[in-house]
C-alpha cells in the first residue's frame, strides 16, 4: 500500500491529469497539488523542563553508594527503576522512556551543561536560550536564529512555532521570523480567503502566496483533526505533543517546534523542598507523553523525520538539603528521542566523588548538542547560529 507521502508525490506528478472546478483559485489549487512545503524534511522538537531537573533522580546511579548516602529520603532503589546499564537506571515512573531506550530510540547524553553557569534560574536559562554566542549580549535565541536561517519569504514557509500556553521563552526570539504561539492546531485554521490570480507585482504575489499557503494549511489541518487523534495520556504536555504531531501530519511545514514542561517562570522542576512526589509526577508526565508522541508518529511512519530534545537550565545538588529537596546543581542528562536517534548512553556519568559545589561537573558543553541538531539534523550552519564551532556528540544516526 502506498504511504500517504508517496500518494502525495504521485499526485503532484500526475497533476496535469486532474481537472478542477473553474472557480477554484489557481494558486490555491496549485499549492494543494504540489507537495506541501517541507513534506519530506526533518523536524526538531525542543522541550524545556523549567526549574532545573534533578538528573540524578532521572538517570539514577543506583550502584553508587554515594548516591544512597547523600539522599536518605529521595533515593530510588534499583528494584523499582528501569535498568539501562549495570550502573544506571531510569526513574521508576519512566517506563515509557525505558521502552524507547530498549528500542534504540532514546539517546541519554550525560554530563551536559554550561561551564560558566552561575546557577541562578534566569541567568542559567538565558545561557541555554541564547547559546551565549560572540559578541556577547545577543538579542535573539538560538532557535530564533535557526528560524531566521530557515526563513524564505519567497516560499511563505513557517520555520518555527512555540506550542504552549506560557509566554514564549526567549530561545525562539528571532530577528525576522514571527514565531507563533499555538495552543492547538486550530490556531492555524482560518476562515476562507481567495488568493486571487490577476497579474500582480512581486509584493502582491508574495501576499497571495502567503494567503494560499495559510488556506492550504488550514484545509490540511482540518482534515487531520477529523482523523484519529492518537492515544495520549491526560497531561498538558501530552496535549501539546499531540498538537505537534497533528501539525507534522498536516504538513504545516514547521521545522522547529518548541514546547515546555514545568509551567515556565522558575518552573515546577525547582524542588527545594518535598521534591519526591512532585518530581515523580513530572517524570511520569515527561516519559508517558513522549512515549505516546513516539507511538503516534510511528503509526504514520513519521518518527524517522522527528527528533525531540529535552533541556533544563541546570541539574541539582547531590545532597538533600534537609527539607527533602535539592539545590541548584550543574551538569545533567539531555534526552534525545527519535527514529534516527543513536539510542543508548552517550558520555560517562559524571562522578559523584568529584563534584563542583555539590553539583555534577559538566564534561559536555550544551552547544555541542545544539550544533549536531543544527548541522546534521536541520542542515543549517551552526557556526553562524552559535557563534563558534562545536563538535557533535554522536546522538544521531548517520
Amino acid at each position: 500500500m502506498k504511504t500517504r507521502r508517496e500518494f502525495l508525490k504521485a499526485t503532484a506528478k500526475a497533476g496535469a491529469l486532474f481537472s478542477f472546478a473553474a472557480s477554484a483559485p489557481r494558486l490555491l489549487m496549485r499549492s494543494a497539488l504540489a507537495l506541501p512545503p517541507g513534506a519530506d524534511q526533518t523536524i526538531l522538537v525542543v522541550l524545556q523542563l523549567s526549574g532545573g531537573n534533578d538528573g540524578l533522580n532521572t538517570v539514577i546511579p543506583f550502584a553508587d553508594d554515594l548516591y544512597h548516602q547523600s539522599r536518605p529520603t529521595l533515593r530510588q532503589v534499583a528494584a523499582q527503576a528501569h535498568r539501562i546499564s549495570d550502573q544506571l537506571a531510569l526513574h521508576p515512573r519512566m517506563a515509557g522512556f525505558a521502552r524507547l531506550f530498549a528500542g534504540g530510540q532514546l539517546a541519554v547524553v550525560q554530563g551536559v551543561g554550561c561551564a560558566k553557569s552561575d546557577r541562578n534560574h534566569p541567568g542559567a536559562m538565558h545561557m541555554w536560550h541564547t547559546a551565549e554566542p560572540q559578541p556577547p549580549g545577543p538579542q535573539t535565541g538560538w532557535l530564533g536564529r535557526a528560524a531566521d536561517q530557515l526563513w524564505n519569504p519567497d516560499t511563505a514557509n513557517l520555520p518555527a512555532a512555540f506550542v504552549g500556553a506560557i509566554p514564549q521563552p526567549f530561545a525562539s526570539n528571532a530577528e525576522r521570523v514571527i514565531v507563533p504561539s499555538l495552543r492547538s492546531p486550530r490556531d492555524l485554521v482560518c476562515p476562507p480567503a481567495k488568493a486571487g490570480s490577476a497579474p500582480g507585482d512581486r509584493l502582491l504575489d508574495g501576499a497571495r502566496r502567503a494567503t494560499s499557503a495559510a488556506q492550504a494549511n488550514s484545509v490540511r489541518i482540518e482534515n487531520v483533526l477529523k482523523a484519529h487523534a492518537g492515544d495520549y495520556p491526560q497531561y498538558r504536555l501530552a496535549d501539546e505533543l499531540r498538537t505537534i504531531a497533528q501539525l507534522i501530519r498536516a504538513d504545516a511545514g514547521i521545522r522547529v517546534f518548541f514546547t515546555e514542561l514545568g509551567g515556565g517562570g522558575i518552573g515546577g522542576f525547582d524542588n527545594h523542598a518535598g521534591q519526591l512526589g512532585n518530581h515523580c509526577s513530572l517524570l511520569e508526565q515527561l516519559s508517558a507523553s513522549i512515549a505516546a508522541f513516539a507511538r503516534d508518529l510511528q503509526r504514520d511512519r513519521l518518527f524517522d523525520r522527528v527528533v525531540l530534545m529535552t533541556f533544563s537550565e541546570f541539574g541539582r545538588t547531590l545532597h538533600e538539603n534537609g527539607r527533602r529537596g535539592t539545590g541548584h546543581g550543574a551538569a545533567a542528562p539531555v534526552f534525545v528521542v527519535g527514529g534516527r536517534a543513536q539510542g543508548g548512553l552517550i558520555g560517562t556519568h559524571p562522578s559523584l566523588a568529584d563534584l563542583d559545589q555539590d553539583g555534577q561537573k559538566v564534561h559536555t558543553d550544551f552547544r555541542r548538542i545544539y550544533a549536531e541538531l543544527l548541522d546534521r539534523w536541520l542542515g543549517l550552519d551552526s557556526r553562524e547560529i552559535l557563534g563558534g564551532a562545536y563538535a557533535p556528540v554522536g546522538m544521531l544516526r548517520a
Binding site: 549580549g137 513557517l158 507563533p180 504561539s181 502582491l204 501576499a207
Partner: protein, 431 residues
Amino acid sequence: MAPSAAFDPQWAWARFEPDAHRPWNLALAGHLYRRAAFGAAWPQLQRALADGPQQTLDRLLRPGAEAAAFNRQFDEYETPPGDDRSATELRAWWLQRMIRTPHPLLEKMTLFWHGHCAANNGKVESAPSLQRYLQLLRRHALGDFRALLAGLVQDAALFATFDAKANRRALPNPGFPRWLLEAHLGQASEQDIREAARAFSGWFVQLDQLRFIEREHDTGNKQILGSTGNFGADDVARLVLAQPATAAMLVRKLYRWLISETAEPAAALLAPLEAAFAKDYDVLALVETMLRSNLFFSPAAYRQRVKSPVEYALGMIQGLETSVATQPLGDALAGLGQNLLHPPTTRGWSGGRDWLNPATVAGRLRLADALLRGGPYSENLNLAALVQKHGQPATIFFAQLYVQDEPAAGSAPDPRHAAYAAVAQPEFLLA
C-alpha cells in the same frame, strides 16, 4: 531589493498635481490615508476626493488646535492616580490614541521612532518609564531629530533596554553606544564603540530614573569618529549628527516607511532630501516633501509596502466608524508579531515581507473575522446600519472602502460577509 527605475529627482519630489493622465481618485485617497494615517472611514475618503491631495495633506500634516487638546487629554488618561498601571494598559491606550487621534500622522511617526530605537518592556518592567519614553518619541516625532536624539540618550527606559542600568567607569556597557553608532552610520569600529561606551559611563538607572554619578564618569579624553575630547553621552549624539551618513540613513529609512520597501532607491534620488535634512534635521519638512510628491502618488509607491499588524487592524477599524476594546486588540497584534513596547530587538521589527507567513496570515484572517463579528472587540458594531448610512450595496461599499476596487467575485450581499470578503483579499495585506 531591486534598484528602482531611475526617476528624475526633480520630478520625483515636486508636488503632485493631478491631471488627466494622473487623476485624483479614490485609490489614491486610500493610498494617502494608509501611509499618512492608519486608514480612513468613508466620509474621510469622500472629503479627500472633494478636497484634492494637497489640501487633504494640509490637514494630515497640520491638523490644528484640536490635536493638541486631544493629546493633553490622553496624557491624562494614560496617567491614573497612583502608579497602578501596566505596560499592557499603556499599549491599549496607545492603540486607542492611534484610532481616535485627529493627528494620525503623529502616531504613525511615533510608531516609526519606536521601531528605530525600540524600548522593550521585557527589560524595562516599568509602565511609567515606558510612558515617558513614548511621550519623548511623540513630542519630537515630527519635530527636530536632534532634540529627539538628545532625549533618547537621556532616556531611562532605553538604558534599561540596553542592559545598561549601571555604567561604571571600570565597565561601561557598549550596547547603547553600539546602537547609536550603528543605527545611524550603518557600521562602526569596535574602537569607536569602546570609546563611546566610556563617554556613557556615569549614567545609572535607579528607581526608573536616570542619574548621573560623577565619580563613575570616565573624564579622560575619548577619540570618537575622528574627534578627541572629554566627551559625554550627549556629545556622542552630537558627533553622530555631524556625520553626513546619519541624515542619509534616516532619509532611506523614512523612504521605506512612507514610500516603498520593494525597491532600493538610487542615491541620486535621495540626494536632495538628504542635503535638506542634514541642514536642520526637520522631520516634518522631510515627511512633507515625501508625502506631497509625485513619487508618493505614483505606481512606484502604490501598494509597495506590507501592512504591519497595527496598520492591518486599524485599517479595518477606521472603516467601521466605531470604537473597539484595545486591550484584547493589543494581545491579538502581539500574536501577529507586533507586540507594541515589546519588540523582538532594539532595532524594532524587520517588517516588510517578514510580516507574512502562513501563521500570521491565518491570524490576520481570524482577527478580521472576529473584528467584523464584533467579537471581544466591539459590542455596538452594526455593519448593516453603516452600509445603510452610506447608501450603497454592501459588496460595493466595503470593496470601495477597504481596497478601493470592485467587489471580489462571489461576494455575498450580507454586510458582514461583504466586509470580510473585501479585507480577506491579499491586496488588503498591503499598504
